[in-house]
């Protein structure tokens, strides 16, 4: 039984590109030269009151603002539920609390950093700010976190199509995570221009961050961007063939042929070894379908699928495919009705999402 589809009725995205103004679509493209991409942020005071802003860390400000923009875009004051996702959480605050703890030898510690470091702090604060007493959950499953959250929403909307659910993600380009990543050989050794990351052909990714909020409902509205038809998660696929089989079953379940897909949005990361499966897959399926990449714009982070979702939703709504994301020599269509998105996080967590105009 495949669940019913849902609609994206509102969007609020803050990322390493200027994405927080919904009427724009990548008006300018920012490049980064040091392998770390950080958010282009609005003036938070335009969205949050001084009382709200007072105790918020940088990432909480970003998350709360993205949520505010999304609710405004959807024309919703109080959603029926809030589901958030993150890979590493609020690392800056966690690091601050730990440092104080160690430097002060566990004495005289203040609670603010501890509290602001909890993974569900954003979901809790959004609920508090709009007095949402409905369903509330937070996923912290690394490369699956956003996908789990989306799946959760799809199940809830299947049972309650008139609900409006706020789905949100956040992840930081924290120094602590960068160091961990360098130890694990996750990031590039040498600096690379972010816009060249796919031409670069070396191992390692570039670090990114962002927060993306979507208002999802089982019913379309005047502010609908597109529909999300379904999602599938694949953990550690063993071969491109296995992935291809899974994609074929997924398309079949949604009554879609390969030729119906107008564009593939792919989470190619720029890491030569980890991208191998996806690269092989490009020769096996959707060979004749135009492709778009997005991680040169946002970097790699656990919940980067959310940026890909923003890109796909924007393409479907505005019927434009910006030059900067085009990643194949195919002729790009003028009309885009169906987008297939595939993402991976370090060749462990793969996800498939089908979206329609």
């Amino acid at each position: 039984m495949e669940g019913k589809k849902c609609y994206i009725n509102g969007v609020g995205v803050i990322s390493p590109q200027r994405t927080y103004v919904n009427s724009e679509f990548l008006p300018e493209v920012k490049s980064y030269g040091n392998n770390v991409l950080t958010c282009v942020t609005p003036d938070f005071k335009a969205y949050l009151s001084p009382v709200q802003l007072r105790r918020l860390s940088r990432m909480l400000r970003i998350g709360m603002t993205a949520a505010t923009i999304c609710l405004g875009n959807a024309g919703i004051k109080v959603p029926d539920g809030i589901v958030t996702a993150t890979g590493y959480g609020f690392l800056e605050e966690t690091e601050k609390f730990l440092k104080e703890l160690l430097e002060r030898n566990e004495m005289q510690l203040t609670p603010t950093y501890f509290m602001q470091g909890t993974y569900n702090a954003l979901a809790g604060l959004v609920a508090l700010s709009v007095k949402c007493t409905g369903y509330n959950n937070t996923y912290v499953s690394k490369g699956f976190a956003f996908e789990n959250a989306l799946q959760d929403c799809l199940i809830l909307l299947n049972a309650n199509p008139n609900f409006n659910l706020l789905l949100g993600s956040y992840d930081e380009s924290a120094a602590v995570q960068y160091t961990a990543g360098m130890r694990e050989h996750q990031f590039k050794k040498e600096p690379v221009n972010s816009l060249d990351v796919f031409r670069n052909k070396t191992d390692g990714c570039i670090q990114g961050e962002g927060s993306a909020f979507f208002d999802l409902s089982g019913e379309p509205s005047a502010s609908t961007w597109c529909s999300v038809e379904g999602i599938q998660l694949i953990y550690r696929p063993e071969s491109p063939d296995e992935l291809k089989e899974t994609i074929n079953s997924f398309l079949l379940r949604h009554d879609v042929q390969e030729t119906d897909v107008d564009l593939v949005v792919s989470g190619m990361s720029g890491c030569k070894s980890k991208d191998q499966l996806l690269e092989s897959l490009e020769r096996l399926i959707f060979v004749n379908t135009p492709r778009a990449y997005f991680k040169h714009l946002c970097g790699e982070y656990c919940t980067a699928t959310s940026f890909g979702m923003w890109l796909a939703a924007s393409i479907l709504k505005k019927q434009q495919i910006p030059e900067i994301v085009r990643a194949s020599n195919h002729e790009f269509p003028d009309q885009i009705d169906t987008i297939f998105m595939i993402n991976h996080y370090f060749n462990r967590n793969y996800s498939l999402v089908l979206m329609r105009r």
């Binding site: 005071k45 005289q108 203040t110």
Partner: protein
């Protein structure tokens, strides 16, 4: 030499603003008698805990029961008075 209440008030105001990030939200008529919690400045229980730590770190005074905070932290003046009467003599 021990600080006077007025000196403590000045010091505490600066500390509070810094520790609790209050720059952008101090009302115009805010002074040492403005209630910090509830009606006046609207601080909450987390801020109260921050003030407990501030009292300990900066003035060596420990509040064992967070409930004591209700009277001690009523305003900057009450804080200054508490510190002045309880601070270990130097």
């Amino acid at each position: 030499m021990q600080k006077s209440i007025d000196e403590l008030i000045k010091e505490l105001r600066q500390e509070l603003v810094k520790q609790l990030n209050l720059e952008d939200m101090l009302p115009e008529n805010f002074d040492e008698n403005t209630p910090l919690f509830g009606e006046g400045l609207g601080l909450d229980s987390i801020d109260s805990l921050e003030l407990v730590v501030l009292l300990d770190r900066n003035y060596g005074l420990k509040l064992k029961d967070p409930k004591e905070g209700r009277t001690v932290f009523y305003s900057i003046r009450t804080m200054a008075e508490y510190i002045h009467s309880n601070r270990p003599q130097q």
